[in-house]
């Protein structure tokens, strides 16, 4: 944030609103298991991340949140013997298996229709996607998005797809899977099955590849590269372990084949132009059928991850547990700030439409009075500031 008066006033408004939330909704703060083994970190308003912190109990955490009112609060998915030591000395015990499903990774067709591009230098907001800021010609532009109902529907669908693979293929019990709204534009999924805690980053990357559908080999469904001179560059030999489950079943169903479809699979390969063509087609198919997760989040075993029950400063919404994903409405259930009127100045020329707390907003005027939760939402999105 730049140092001008409006920015300072906006930060003060956010701090006040966040503090009020931590007073009023302290019960929503989820204290992680093995608190003493977790590393905490937070981002104060207007400065860099403070990491390698440790708390003894809920009271300690709350006292810090109310006193310092950070913009964002994080807790490690990892367990350490010495959580406050520098990274190489922390002595890693293990880490929860975590997943991040973010709307930006879904590449939804509606994305551009509710995206805004904010210049990091002069804060000018533009609707059109561009390489440079029209006002100051800076090339540093940040994209912000006001998620729509379609985004939320698609995100929930992706969460359900992830849970299906975790439970059916990876054998994780549904009760060990917790789903959280990230507080902005996605969902976080945390697995509390202890047998996965010891997996290192390489093993987690293999889990990511499984979920996302990357690195699939044609051989795993029975198409082998043949070196003989029969005319074809492949031969069909189904794997001993069969095609009945997991990815093999997904692909077999898609191709409408089973372990007796020797000729049919051969014809499919030929239709794709032989081994290489089929390989490329299979790769594309698996990627399309895979779950769209952020690979970095799952592979990182030292990550500090947004803490449930804290406010996300990218939106002013709360990272919140979703016990019933179907009925959960992030733009209502996770919007918990007050409703007193605040005067703000919007930064865009065209109308913004969105829903919050069950109310529809169509904002056109430059300077206007808005309920606190709406004002905070727009300020966090970089689309408004408190009037000077």
């Amino acid at each position: 944030m730049s140092g001008n008066k409006s920015t300072e006033k906006s930060a003060a408004l956010l701090k006040g609103a966040f503090r009020e939330y931590y007073f009023k909704y302290s019960k929503l703060l989820e204290i992680p298991e093995h608190l003493e083994q977790r590393e905490f970190g937070y981002m104060p308003f207007g400065s860099g991340m403070i990491r390698h912190l440790s708390f003894r109990n809920r009271g300690d955490i709350l006292a810090t949140l109310i006193r310092d009112v950070p913009a964002d609060v994080y807790c490690s998915n990892a367990y350490y013997r010495f959580p406050t030591y520098p990274m190489p000395e922390k002595h890693w015990f293990g880490a929860d298996l975590i997943f991040d499903i973010d709307a930006k990774d879904l590449h939804l067709p509606c994305e551009l229709s509710h995206s805004y591009f904010i210049c990091a230098k002069c804060s000018e907001v533009s609707r059109a996607k561009s390489e440079v800021c029209e006002s100051c010609k800076s090339t540093s532009l940040n994209q912000t998005s006001i998620p729509c109902a379609k985004c939320i529907f698609a995100l929930k669908k992706e969460v359900r797809r992830l849970i299906a693979v975790l439970t059916n293929d990876l054998g994780i019990e549904e009760k060990s899977v917790s789903v959280y709204f990230s507080g902005n534009n996605g969902f976080h999924i945390v697995v509390s099955d202890k047998s996965f805690n010891a997996l290192d980053s390489v093993a987690r990357s293999d889990v990511v590849s499984y979920l996302a559908g990357t690195n699939i080999m044609t051989e795993s469904i029975g198409v082998r590269k043949s070196r003989d001179h029969s005319g074809n560059d492949f031969l069909i030999k189904f794997p001993k372990s069969g095609l009945s489950y997991g990815w093999r079943k997904v692909i077999a169903d898609k191709l409408v084949i089973d372990q007796s479809s020797l000729v049919k699979l051969g014809n499919i390969v030929l239709r794709n132009g032989g081994y290489e063509g089929f390989k490329s087609e299979l790769g594309k198919m698996a990627k399309t059928l895979g779950v769209r997760i952020d690979p970095q989040v799952t592979m990182d075993v030292h990550r500090i991850f947004r803490m449930p029950g804290t406010i996300n400063s990218k939106s002013g919404l709360v990272k919140m547990r979703c016990d019933d994903l179907e009925s959960f409405d992030p733009l209502d259930d996770a919007c918990l700030l007050g409703s007193r009127d605040v005067e703000v100045k919007t930064k865009i020329s065209s109308q913004i439409n969105f829903k919050l707390k069950g109310q529809s907003f169509r904002i056109r005027e430059k300077i206007l009075k808005l309920p606190l939760f709406v004002a905070v939402y727009l300020i966090c999105k970089g689309l408004a500031e408190v009037t000077n």
Binding site: N168, D169, L170, G171, I172, S195, F196, A198, L199, D200, V202, A203, S205, D206, V207, S209, Y210, G213, T214, N215, I216, M217, E219, S220, P239, K240, S241, G242, L243, S244, Y245, G246, W247, R248, A286
Partner: protein
């Protein structure tokens, strides 16, 4: 004779690990039980009838260290237990890491062969389960069971699989290329056994490391002295300057310099690269000298084959960067920028687009 009983939650298994099994898997604690229970005195190795055991142990080590081949001969229990003990004593007395690492790897591969055969051929499911429980579960905490639908297949707990197989370089070990269902990965016998190779090797390595030797029986001492002289050329790692090579080749050389096992695909990359930059067959053979399973004859044959001097006469080209990436053998740095094949590394930009084969 030592007897072990195994219990499951459902029933008491009347079946026991027999001496036939212990002959194949002497690293099970029963080897030391044997010494303890028979009150075997190490000075007994000086008796003439023990010469056979000492010679057998020395032959096994020579085969492993000098020829790069595992010893797959199997004799009766007492002979195998004592041969195993003597080889450990000999390796400990020689006292160098390269010899110890090679022996540990070959001893693991020997056990791997017997275990695969047992799991494939054994008709009794109870007996198979006993092996799975004794070796996989008790020694290495790997949960394996026989598949419900096909008793030729084994199901391994997914986390046990990932902890091991995710570190293998070959693409077919990736979880996505396996049959995965309800928390288990389904494998055949040799794949299941391959999962624990490095742990078997580590077990032997640690057994030698933790041994304390008092006075060696004279007969073993004499043999150790002979072996030390024979193995002298194998005891030093050769180090190769690697800073000018592309990072993938550099990585392979570093692994080799540490005396660690390099996957087949990485060996192929290393050999074809060295051929491509004009190294002689002899120079390339020397590069593989540190491999734990080094065998000069086999290495020479394989390199000559890659060079097109044998077989169909086809000269193998260096795998492309894309292929190496898929095989997890790519360790690209900024200096790789723009190249599509490792042989282009370090060439002036205008030459980078040119064919990879010289």
């Amino acid at each position: 004779m030592p007897v072990r009983h195994y219990f499951s939650c459902h029933q008491v298994l009347s079946i026991k690990i027999g001496t036939g099994d212990l002959a194949k898997y002497p690293f099970l604690n029963d080897a030391s039980d044997y010494v303890r229970e028979t009150q075997f005195d190490f000075q007994e190795f000086n008796r003439p009838e023990m010469n056979h055991i000492i010679d057998r142990a020395a032959e096994r080590l020579e085969r492993e260290i000098a020829k790069g081949l595992p010893d797959e001969k199997l004799d009766k229990y007492e002979i195998e237990i004592l041969t195993f003990l003597v080889t450990l004593i000999m390796v400990k007395s020689i006292g160098t890491e390269p010899i110890l690492k090679k022996h540990a790897l070959f001893e693991a591969m020997r056990a791997e062969k017997f275990l695969t055969e047992d799991l494939m051929r054994e008709k009794s499911e109870q007996k198979k389960r006993l092996l799975l429980s004794t070796i996989f579960k008790e020694l290495f905490k790997v949960n394996v069971d026989i598949s419900e639908n096909d008793n030729r297949l084994f199901k391994v707990k997914i986390t046990d699989y990932l902890m091991r197989a995710s570190h293998f370089h070959e693409q077919d070990w990736k979880l996505i290329n396996r049959l995965v269902h309800n928390g288990y990965v389904y494998l055949d016998a040799d794949e299941t056994v391959r999962l624990i190779r490095s742990e078997l090797s580590e077990l032997i390595y640690n057994k030698v490391k933790s041994m304390t030797l008092s006075t060696l029986p004279e007969a073993i001492k004499t043999k150790v002295n002979e072996l030390s002289i024979k193995f002298a050329p194998h005891q030093q790692y050769r180090r190769y300057k690697s800073q000018d090579y592309p990072p993938c080749v550099k990585h392979a050389l570093e692994v080799m310099n540490k005396g660690e096992n390099l996957p087949h695909s990485a060996r192929l990359m290393l050999a074809t690269y060295m051929l491509a930059i004009g190294k002689s067959i002899e120079e390339i053979i020397m590069l593989f000298h540190n491999a734990p399973d080094y065998n000069e004859k086999v290495t020479k044959y394989q390199i000559e084959h890659l060079a097109g001097l044998r077989g169909s006469g086809t000269k193998y080209s260096v795998p492309s960067c894309q292929k190496l990436l898929n095989q997890n053998l790519c360790f690209a740095t900024e200096e790789c920028n723009g190249i599509t094949n490792p042989v282009q590394f370090g060439r002036p930009p205008m030459l980078k687009g040119q064919s990879s084969s010289p």
